[in-house]
């Protein structure tokens, strides 16, 4: 078993490495753009006007309510197939991009991530204490300023643990990319199994790499969480709580 593990790592290290890079790439891009897209979605979602609320609601409902692998297949084989049937598209310069599975895969992940993150953000926005909002209004803040100074900072503080969770979830979700021919880490492990008939060794190698990624992520996100909650730490140093410190 141990020798087989060394064999797998020694012979197929480039496959695993390339798989690792693609996994990270998919993760970073989907989380970044997914989060950016989630912000307007979440803001619209908490609107009091029904017709503004409806669009993000439908979007989130569909993307959270269907399996990711189904979305991936719909996008790659469904939408991709439709695009390929457009007259003359295959001779157009954009075909080099449109035939590539990479973009379909990324788009699906971005949309899926944004749906989940938007819902988390909605919870955060709605839980900002109403007293703070009233105070903002009393100070004469415009809605824009209220969002950037009060609501968003408060929201990030509150949603960060759930957001961290979602990033890790997205990391796992990238393993589905291999079903549409993108050979990320899980795809690489599968390929190794097909070659060597050593499923334990291949999946343990990939599993350990996933664990390392998750460890690094958790560590980094914990640091950011501490930064986001810096005001609470300052509160702890106030005389009111000094007794607890001296006890």
């Amino acid at each position: 078993m141990f020798e087989d593990l060394i064999y797998v790592l020694g012979k197929y290290d480039t496959w695993l490495w390339r798989g690792f890079l693609l996994t990270i790439e998919l993760l970073v891009i989907s989380v970044t753009f997914g989060t950016l897209l989630a912000i307007p979605l979440a803001v619209a979602r908490v609107s009091k006007k029904l017709w503004i609320q409806a669009v993000p609601f439908a979007f989130i409902y569909v993307f959270r309510g269907t399996p990711l692998i189904g979305q991936l297949f719909m996008m790659y084989y469904g939408v991709g197939q439709l695009i390929s049937n457009i007259d003359g598209i295959q001779d157009h310069w954009s075909w080099a991009y449109l035939r590539n599975p990479y973009w379909y895969c990324l788009l699906t992940f971005v949309l899926n991530t944004s749906a989940y993150v938007a819902e988390i953000m909605r919870g955060g926005i709605q839980n900002v204490p109403s007293g703070e909002l009233e105070a903002a209004r009393a100070c004469g803040m415009t809605p824009w300023t209220t969002y950037s100074r009060i609501i968003f900072p408060r929201m990030w503080q509150m949603i960060w643990p759930a957001y961290t969770n979602d990033v890790i979830f997205t990391l796992k979700a990238t393993s589905l990319a291999s079903t549409v021919t993108m050979m990320e880490l899980t795809g690489a492990a599968r390929k190794i199994v097909a070659r060597t008939a050593l499923p334990y060794e291949a999946f343990i190698s990939a599993g350990v790499i996933y664990l390392i990624i998750v460890y690094t992520l958790t560590f980094g996100f914990k640091g950011i969480e501490r930064y986001l909650r810096r005001n609470e730490r300052r509160k702890d140093k106030q005389p009111g709580t000094a007794k607890a410190a001296s006890a």
Binding site: N85, R190, A194
Partner: protein
């Protein structure tokens, strides 16, 4: 240990043979096939076994001048049934593998559906010629293939300058072929031949020669026999060689697969 058994059984057979007349032990052979793998073996409306394997078995017995009875057996119980002596030989497209060789023995291979490229009718691929891989034949192309197959391994090992797209099923690779997202696909000619008969395949066809180098594609399907029946193996191998030499194999091949060479090596 295994060798010891082989030697012992060979000795036992030797004694048995010298005691009786040669071939006398094999006047009648019961052959099992699956009956659910068209067009190789299947049952017609009357429940009669038909197909390439059935015709081949009949012709083989005729050539070997032995009487044959063909019976149907589910795939899962194929090897246990042979070992339990319910029949003496398996002719059911069973691939020769090391794992199976641990419990049974095989004759030489009698059929091997070769690999072939399928793409737009207008293209031409020469990836394997005269026992040599043409490494640059596919340069710059995007080739679709089913993952975990011998075909995927063949592409990965031999063509460094192509983009290989790996699919969960061959159907998905064919979908992407018709969508123009891969330039060609490499797979088993039997499967592809079937697909080419469908409407979706209009404008597509075999675009390369058919090849099956055993280094990548294994040894094909053989006739399964019990390990102790080395005399039967010899009889069947001899008859098979005769069929290949006198053209009767070729005739059968053409009857079922006009476009495929089932005995490429």
């Amino acid at each position: 240990m295994k060798n010891w058994i082989k030697v012992a059984s060979a000795a036992a057979i030797g004694i048995a043979l010298s005691a009786s007349a040669a071939n006398a032990a094999w006047e009648k052979v019961v052959v099992a096939t699956e009956g659910a793998y068209p067009p190789f073996n299947m049952v017609d409306e009357n429940g009669k076994l038909i197909g390439f394997d059935v015709d081949f078995a009949n012709k083989l017995c005729e050539t070997a001048k032995i009487e044959c009875e063909i019976v149907a057996q589910d795939w899962d119980g194929m090897i246990p049934g042979l070992l339990a002596k319910k029949y003496d030989a398996i002719i059911a497209q069973m691939s020769i593998t090391e794992e199976r060789k641990r419990s049974i023995d095989f004759t030489n291979y009698y059929s091997n559906t070769p690999a072939v490229f399928v793409g737009k009718d207008t293209m031409k691929i020469e990836a394997y010629k005269d026992g040599e891989v043409m490494e640059d034949a596919l340069d710059g192309m995007v080739i679709g293939v089913q993952r975990s197959t011998t075909h995927a391994n063949f592409l990965e090992d031999n063509f460094p300058n192509i983009e290989i797209r790996m699919y969960g099923t061959q159907d998905e690779a064919l979908l992407d072929l018709t969508a123009g997202r891969v330039d060609a696909t490499l797979a088993d000619s039997g499967t592809l031949d079937d697909w080419l008969k469908s409407d979706a395949a209009k404008g597509y066809g075999f675009v390369s020669n058919q090849f099956a180098p055993s280094e990548w594609f294994g040894d094909g399907a053989g006739i399964g026999i019990r390990q102790e029946d080395q005399d039967l193996k010899e009889i069947l191998n001899k008859a098979l060689a005769e069929m290949l030499a006198n053209g009767s194999y070729d005739e059968l091949n053409k009857k079922y697969f006009p476009a495929i060479n089932l005995h490429p090596n």
